[in-house]
Symmetry: C3
Subunit: 372 residues, 3 copies
């Protein structure tokens, strides 16, 4: 199957994409301020008033579930003197969000409910000072945010992949473990590393026996969504320390997929990796030109988690080990790419998805914009 | 009294004044390199040869009392190879300041007294190499420095407020306690916080019972000097943990002022807050665009300090607690102002002094200069 | 002898040479990317496969001895995806350098020996992807590197000083002790400090009794190589804690030199200081505009080191103490030069070598380039 892929003679990206401040700013404008960015799971804020803070690029947002059960992304900035309303990473509001400085109070939908000592200011109306809000979208249990002035409809952008995960009932799954990593590498190095298994025999000695890198193929080969399956070796059931499943095959997963693990990258902030018994997700956050935060969840069926003998340990341990192996080689690669003497090198045919990633990235960075 | 004040429909400063490096540099040129800046108290260097170092914006100055009792601000840079002459924060010179590198020696008035091995250099004259000196001024026991080439006369600039503190005999008072704070907020946020008591009920639960925020008024309402009194609630004598005075009412303070606490801000580096029994001062140093050092003194009458049972503890504890409450909310406000989503908000009428501060600040930043 | 030297009325360098990023970059272009830079001793990599990493200015190089015994400086960047090949500071390769990511393998001469999964890529040839290499030169046991596209021949550049050290048989000497220092001062401050003994009576009270600063003279007085001898006081044999030698006078050293210590600076990266019984070397690395790394070796004759009672301690202790005295005053000088109030000062006649250093430096920085 590997033989069907081709790198088409392409070479790796030039160094400027990993070192230039101007490129970094262009990424902000073209990608991170314009595209739908995954910021978490809806299950993190299930009850009205529950919230978490989302911080990025000098922004702070309160992601909160309203009394109307709706999720909103409210800017964490009081409309009076600009005070950050909330400093605690996650929690529960009691019907209102109150500024600690002068006690301006906002409803959970962002509207200003009360502002002491403002009644005698000419022309002051509570209705004029709701918290600013950013558009958000929900898909398969993920929350996405968009900072564009007129964002493209989420459903349209995600159409190619929107039904891909229905067999795994992704929206219903629950995280058995979340691990957050900070990696000293550019976010693109992380994407590129996840997009090939050429490195598996050398970097992941424990993965190779479970599924051969030569078994991989791709069902998304161009555009923002990329990836495909690897086939489990006959004697193994899933990816875990002992090659056994940590739970039953997920209810909707058919016979073919019970022998497969899929690895998808969703540009520019999400990896989704369905296994027979669980789905692994990586949320990718660009923290700086050479710093990336990765939040990895292992999502299991709620029924499986309720089982008295449920033990996700072998899957968690396997992926924590494998992730760390990846982050280490990503850091070493970032250091090389950003040092003197680097020049674009030739991709192998096993790296065809990286070629597709680079093509999509360069199109987004250099292509015409609708609004331009 | 609050009713007489008006915010005149003004809004808070725009974000650039808290984030732009160009604004920061303009502040250096327009404010910190041109205006009189408070750098300490004369009582810190009472004897000839006593000194302290004043460091700011890449400058190091030796503030020293000469044999002639005069205070001078000498640049801490040897005229030979540029070596920093003195590395110890404060101390006592023994008649001369000697460079540790090649032993060039300066008198306490900055004149070069000796330079070994320089006699045979053609044209070398000791008289040509005094330490550089910056103009300084003394007022009410405070030392001020000015970095302008031709600074405006101190007496002229300070005329509006120069006699305001004679009842408290400020020059004679002695610090019973100095506490230094470093706050992660722009210096203007510190000034603005000190200029209103609208926040007192929410931020200072221990202050509100002693003096109501509605009792405040202003006797300086425009220009570089701003502020006015708050009236102590009937059952209280001063601001302290128990609302009692820590010393007798200061000798020159009359009946009316024995029931008042005044809060004055002196742009751009000093707060003076007379209480019936002591005067609190805050010296404000801009350390960076988002970092401010604040040196707080509680000045008592020397006779009070000599009393066997003198205990300034209740005042010190009260203000340390209250200061820390302020710095915390200032930091939270700075973080909000400098994040995405901030836009200027409406001032209440209780914040009329902030409007005046902003007006004075913008005039200094944008107005014409005499020398331009 | 001091009387014959003259500062010619020169003054110290202006501040920009110690603070401006543009000057720093110009130094990179004119000096550190163009001139021969000392990076270590050949004795550090004696056997085939032995290597150390040389890191500077965003570069990483593998300095390695090949199977053919030849030393090479190979860029530590895989030609495939740019991964840093080697992360360990020094060690021994086993015939090849293998990338940990996808197992591309290079011979010790830099040629690509194997690249898995690349055979089916159209037009891919191993021969097209050797590791990049930088020119290097060997002299007196030192390894030099050059980053220019067409570097000037080492032998030509070093001709004036190439035979100066033959009496000490410098190439044969072995380090008895290496100490590395990081100093918060510009590299030029370090050179300038080493170029005069005017400071010795004040900074080095333990050195002055061994050799008077008035005994110094210069046999190199212009150009990139500067310096000369100091004469040992009659009752002392060498520079050490007790003024005694730690070993016999070196075999080739004559009667005159047995009473002398020489101090030479080799622009822009090396000091060589022959003593009767040992040679001290300082390798100077510019780490930043205000940061310098200094690697100091005390080189003794291999026969001396083999002596059962050999004890270099008194020399090591003496120079570690003296070096630290120097770095401290260099840091204090750097802080002064880079602060407000610094302006160029007059050199004494004892500082004629600093005048020569500045002249050579300015010529290199401002002069015409062959390739321009």
């Amino acid at each position: 199957m590997a033989g069907s892929r081709s790198s088409k003679g392409a070479r790796t990206l030039s160094q400027k994409y990993f070192v230039c401040p101007e490129i970094y700013q262009r990424e902000t404008q073209r990608i991170f301020d314009r595209q739908w960015i995954c910021i978490g799971r809806t299950s993190e804020i299930e009850k009205p008033g529950q919230y978490f803070l989302y911080e990025s690029d000098g922004r702070s947002l309160i992601v909160v579930r309203g009394q109307d059960e709706k999720l909103r992304c409210l800017f964490n900035v009081c409309r009076h003197r600009g005070t950050r309303l909330c400093d605690t990473e996650a929690g529960q509001f009691d019907h209102k969000i109150q500024c600690p400085y002068h006690a301006w109070s906002y409803k959970l939908d962002g509207n200003l409910a009360a502002a002491p000592n403002m009644a005698d200011v000419d022309g002051f109306e509570l209705a004029d000072y709701p918290l600013h809000e950013a558009p958000c979208a929900i898909w398969e249990g993920f929350i996405f945010i968009n900072h564009a002035q007129s964002p493209p409809p989420f459903q349209e952008v995600y159409k190619p992949i929107s039904n891909r995960f229905k067999d795994w009932a992704l929206a219903d799954l629950v995280s058995a473990q979340r691990i957050t990593y900070e990696v000293a590498a550019n976010w693109k190095v992380i994407f590129q590393n996840y997009s090939e298994c050429y490195h598996c025999p050398f970097v992941h000695p424990q993965l190779s026996p479970l599924s051969s890198y030569t078994s991989s193929s791709n069902d998304f080969e161009a555009g923002p969504f990329l990836g495909g399956p690897m086939i489990l070796n006959e004697e193994h059931q899933s990816l875990s320390m002992d090659g056994k499943r940590c739970a039953a095959v997920l209810p909707g997963v058919g016979q073919k997929d019970a022998r497969r693990v899929y690895f998808y990258t969703l540009f520019p902030s999400l990896f989704i990796s369905p296994h027979p018994d669980y789905v692994m997700t990586h949320r990718i956050e660009r923290l700086g030109i050479d710093q990336t935060r990765i939040t990895c969840d292992l999502l299991f069926h709620p029924d499986a988690i309720k089982e008295p003998n449920f033990d996700p340990g072998p899957a968690i341990e396997f992926w924590d080990m494998t992730n760390r192996q990846d982050w280490k080689i990503c850091e070493q690669t970032h250091r090389g790419i950003t040092s003197d003497g680097y020049q674009p090198g030739p991709y192998s045919n096993l790296e065809s998805v990286l070629v597709a990633f680079d093509e999509n990235y360069l199109t987004v960075m250099n292509g015409q914009l609708n609004s331009e």
